[in-house]
């Protein structure tokens, strides 16, 4: 089952889960995903060792999508 999680003060929170067989759950995940992007989060998927990719659309086939806050220097 694929998961959309947000790193937050609880460690992380699972916002949505979906499977390839269940479009309704994916639609709900997309709604949650867009709400988090609107709130200023960035979405990242890991792509093997040492690699990650930022995404603006929720990938249907991703296993794990992680929402992170912006970083800054200083």
């Amino acid at each position: 089952m694929a998961r959309l999680i947000r790193m937050d003060d609880t460690g992380h929170t699972t916002l949505a889960e979906w499977t390839a067989a269940d479009e309704t759950s994916f639609d709900a995940a997309v709604t949650a995903f867009r709400a988090q992007l609107d709130a200023g989060f960035y979405a990242v998927i890991t792509e093997g060792e040492g690699r990650a990719r930022q995404v603006d659309e929720l990938p249907f086939d991703a296993e794990l999508v992680i929402l992170r806050r912006p970083i800054a220097g200083g």
């Binding site: 790193m7 460690g11 990242v44 890991t46 040492g50 992680i66 806050r69 912006p70 970083i71």
Partner: protein, 210 residues
Amino acid sequence: MSSEVLPETAAVHWRPRVDERHLARRGRLWTLTTVAHTVPFTAAAVLLFWLEPLSAPVDLILLAHAWAIPELYAKRGANVLRRRPRAAEGPERTAVGLLGDLIGHEARELHARTGLVVERGALGVWVVGEAGALLVRPGGHRVDCWCVHVEDRRLPSGDRIAHLLLALRTDEHGFATVANLAFSGAPWRVRRRLPPDQRPALDAGVARAG
């Protein structure tokens, strides 16, 4: 690492994007700065003592300056790995679990001992902390200390590191562009200013970069 551009670089659009040449130039500048702080004080102390041995107390003050100023810079560099206040135990444990999923077994074990994550990149080997990172340059003879943090102080430590790690993996050059360079110099200068339990992470970084 990916070739994407980190969106946070838009907030520092005036900065040139960090690359190998940029790092080498800034490294040379740091070395020159250290020499400029050390040589005049040392030369003045030697000259004064040669002219008048009774000036020894003043000479010692000058030599102390020559020693202390580079030390303060190195301390500033080591401070980028300073730990932040802990969150509650539950969130800390959850965050470390997620971080553990992002890194390999060896890095996980090192993190458990040092609180730091070692990650190889294109620019060198990174030692990532909660609010900063060290970049050990190829060859292991220079370390750049970067101040960079996630803008949420309530996050547990594992999440702070995971934020930096994911940004680093998305765009390493962009990550270095967003971060502020606090120090650049020999690893031994930073190492002696680190808490003893963090030193193995820097040692591992130097070993992998060498």
